[in-house]
């Protein structure tokens, strides 16, 4: 079963020597293949997750790297011509050309598999006068842990923030507002695809059915885009993205599953994260014979940035980032600034590593310095800070994120997502992703969509500026912890617990 925290453990292998062997085996088995194709199988859509990319992700996991090996992000100084870019790129051993770059906004993504250490690539480029910044293509991770042990009490979280009375004021928002979930995706089709996978003895083709969440009306899913797996329909093979989206906007008052906060707004699935199944399918298609570690996966900076810009360009007014990592990234910060400049409010998870040293997580750390961006910490049913929720001077607001130390599964966040029993990596060979169930997750990933949902309601009500949305959420928060008071912040809870009703009610002349 998945472990808590953003850093995945390669439990099956463990030692570095064994890991090196794995990498060698993988490299040799893949050879120089460039297409996701084994004998008798052709990808139904052009693959974004190429074999070399998949191998890089596996290598990153194996070596516990925080970046995608061989990938670096570079921004050239203003006014640098292509000739100048070439001059800078000549500093690398592989001597790439500017045409080898893939552009995410004004940031070029360079893939150089001859040098897997992206920190070296970045350092070499940073030394060039034409370069404004260069950084490895860091990997971020969704900030949640699933657990669905069975039927128990549910959605204490919505009662804790007085959602029923908030819905009296604004029942679900408006369908003119789009909330983007930049995550593992929300399945946007009902279709069966054939993939290659390892069955323990051989690579075989499996038919993998996908279905849309019945608690999302299909008309509400707009602009779905996959940036990381393939150039085809968005498929959630992990469940995190769907769970997050359910908190924001699961259908409500339909006698089905759970309730979502802004249940009338449109949802934009933006897939930027890879999990076990995407990588297993890609590796098996390339001829890799074996199972990948169950906890493998990540969300590359380049795809996150691309996804954020895409969402902003397509009219999303709320962007949910339930992901994070320990590495700062100018690319990510600039993408978020781009989004707020386009009028989008951005909610970001604080991170779940409080008991692992409480590191500063990014991009949450950027929130405090950016208007219209809020970092979100988690509380449990008692409204005390969840044990895992990171703290710090950059924490701005708290919301229910679940805490299984307060009543087990009852203390977690229940929403509708793909049934995990259909795709457990350690026990399933041929997964299915067409059945949905109410599942309990906990994490700052779950807290963040509460704030995103409230933001969507505020925007529906006419608060059109992301900075104003932040002001409304901040000024209406219920103070928690110490020091506390209206407008007073502390490192454990930020400005306090989000209060949707108070935010939507606004103020009169004197109160």
């Amino acid at each position: 079963m998945a472990e808590r925290g953003s850093r995945r453990r390669f439990a099956a292998m463990g030692a570095d020597v064994a890991g090196l062997v794995l990498v060698v085996v993988l490299t040799r088995s893949l050879g120089a293949q460039s297409g996701a194709q084994t004998e008798g199988w052709t990808a139904p859509h052009p693959m974004l997750l190429t074999p070399s990319r998949a191998l890089a992700m596996v290598t990153a996991f194996d070596r516990k790297l925080t970046y995608v090996p061989g990938e670096v992000l570079v921004r050239f100084r203003s006014g640098v011509t292509p000739a100048g870019q070439q001059q800078a790129l000549m500093s690398l051993r592989s001597r790439p050309a500017p045409s080898d770059l893939r552009w995410v906004g004004d940031v070029g993504v360079l893939t150089d598999r001859t040098e897997l250490d992206a920190t070296i690539l970045a350092a070499q480029l940073r030394g060039q006068p034409e370069v404004e910044f260069a950084e490895p293509n860091y990997l971020y991770h969704p900030s949640a842990t699933p657990n669905d042990p069975g039927f128990t009490e549910r959605q204490w979280n919505l009662a804790a923030i007085d959602m029923p009375r908030a819905w009296d004021i604004n029942p679900g928002g408006k369908d003119t507002v789009i909330a983007a979930i930049v995550d593992t995706g929300i399945t946007a089709v009902a279709r069966t695809y054939s993939f290659q996978t390892w069955n323990g003895k051989a690579i075989q083709s499996v038919s993998v059915p996908f279905g849309m969440n019945p608690d999302f009306k299909s008309a509400r899913i707009v602009g779905a885009r996959d940036f990381v797996f393939w150039d085809g329909p968005v498929l959630d093979m992990e469940g995190h993205g769907t769970h997050v989206a359910s908190t924001i906007g699961e259908e409500t008052n339909n006698a089905m599953a759970e309730a979502g906060i802004a249940y009338r707004v449109k949802l934009m699935p933006v897939k930027v994260c890879l999990g076990f199944w995407e990588l297993q399918f890609a590796m098996s298609a390339s001829g890799f014979r074996g199972f990948l570690p169950a906890e493998i996966g990540g969300c590359p900076t380049s795809e996150i940035a691309d996804g954020i810009r895409y969402a902003a360009d397509r009219g999303a007014k709320v962007i949910n980032l339930s992901l994070g990592g320990p590495q700062p990234s100018d690319t990510l910060r600039d993408a978020i600034a781009y989004a707020t400049g386009k009028g989008a409010f951005v909610a970001i998870a604080m991170g779940n590593e409080f008991e692992d040293g409480n590191p500063v997580d990014y991009p949450a750390a950027y929130a405090a310095e950016m208007n219209g961006v809020m970092s979100v910490g988690a509380v449990g049913p008692s409204l005390a800070r969840s044990f895992y929720s990171n703290t710090g001077p950059h924490l701005e607001i708290s919301a229910p994120g679940g805490n299984d130390r307060e009543g087990g599964a009852r203390g977690m966040i229940w929403q509708s997502t793909i049934a995990r029993s259909d795709s457990v990596p350690t026990s399933i060979v041929a997964p299915r992703f067409d059945r949905y169930a109410e599942s309990a997750y906990e994490g700052t990933s779950m807290a963040t969509p509460h704030v995103a949902g409230v933001a969507a309601l505020l925007i529906s009500q006419g608060v059109t500026s992301p900075g104003a949305v932040e002001t409304a959420i901040r000024n209406s928060a219920r103070p928690l912890g110490a020091p506390s008071g209206i407008g007073v912040r502390n490192d454990d809870y930020g400005y306090g617990l989000v209060q949707p009703r108070s935010a939507l009610l606004g103020v009169g002349l004197v109160r």
Partner: protein, 286 residues
């Protein structure tokens, strides 16, 4: 909103009435008899209509040569003609040596009033109501002792706007109806300065402002019921016609440090619930 429309509809009539009152005051000039036992003649000048003492105030309704046609005192009734030389048009300054009638020692008038208020907390009211003020109505009473007066009144202003969010000085309306009611209760003292055609006056006083605010979706405990102290200065001019008079009055009220702790008034740092009032009064009595 309804009150404003009502005010707009009747405003022309008000102006006409004021003008009429003022006009009749000039057309129907009052004169004071300066000759004791002056004779007022009938229209054909053949009979004596009345003999009146010096100081009697007569209302001129016409003129012919050396004669004024006057309306005689109520007790006598009717009309007649008096020599211009037997009367003085300056009814406030009796000629030296001649008997004059003393000003009325005690009078009580009832007052109905309406007008427009512009609140000092302009930005706050404008953000909520879409305007910095609006129309109001009210009434009261006034006791006059010679030229001094004491008055008490109560007025009502009520308007519905929207709850808002204020962020960096920008106002976002949230579509939630919010009703504000302001009811000043005031006591004023002042001094009247009767003139031939009109009576200017000035005064000042204190008051209590009853403030009510409630919105849709709020609970009783979230609504506002407050009272604030205030003080004011006022000035106006009255035009009298027998038992009925009209007046135009301007009042400046201050209620400092009454608002500005929360809500829009805190966002705009406005703490004064007073403002500037222009009102029209209709007074009945003497």
């Amino acid at each position: 909103m309804h009150l404003n429309r009502a005010l707009l509809r009747i405003a022309p009539w008000i102006v006409w009435a004021l003008a009429g009152t003022a006009a009749s005051a000039s057309a129907q000039t009052n004169v004071r008899v300066t000759r004791d036992q002056a004779t007022i003649w009938t229209a054909d000048f053949k009979d004596t209509a009345a003999i009146v003492p010096a100081g009697t105030i007569l209302t001129v309704v016409g003129r012919r040569g050396e004669w004024y046609e006057v309306r005689m005192p109520t007790a006598i009734g009717g009309r007649g003609w008096v020599l211009k030389s037997n009367v003085d048009t300056n009814t406030s300054k009796p000629r030296a040596g001649l008997a004059t009638s003393a000003p009325r020692k005690l009078g009580i008038v009832g007052v109905g009033q309406f007008g427009y208020v512009r609140f000092a907390a302009e930005q706050s009211f404008n953000a909520i109501l879409g305007a910095s003020g609006g129309g109001f109505y009210g009434g009261g009473a006034e006791v006059r002792v010679t030229n001094a007066f004491v008055s008490a009144s109560i007025e009502r202003f009520e308007k519905t706007g929207q709850r808002i969010l204020v962020a960096d000085g920008e106002v976002f309306q949230l579509g939630i109806p919010d009703t504000i009611r302001v009811m000043p209760i005031t006591v004023s003292v002042g001094w009247r300065m009767p003139r031939e055609r009109a009576t200017p006056y000035v005064g000042g006083g204190v008051g209590r402002i009853l403030y009510r605010e409630q919105a849709s979706f709020t609970e009783a405990s979230e609504n506002v019921h407050s009272q604030y102290s205030s003080y004011h200065m006022l000035g106006g001019v009255e035009f009298r016609n027998e038992w009925v008079a009209s007046a135009f009055e301007v009042q400046y009220t201050r209620a400092p440090h009454t608002i500005g702790v929360g809500g829009a008034s805190a966002a705009f740092q406005e703490t004064n619930l007073g403002g500037l009032v222009a009102r029209i009064k209709v007074l009945v009595g003497r």
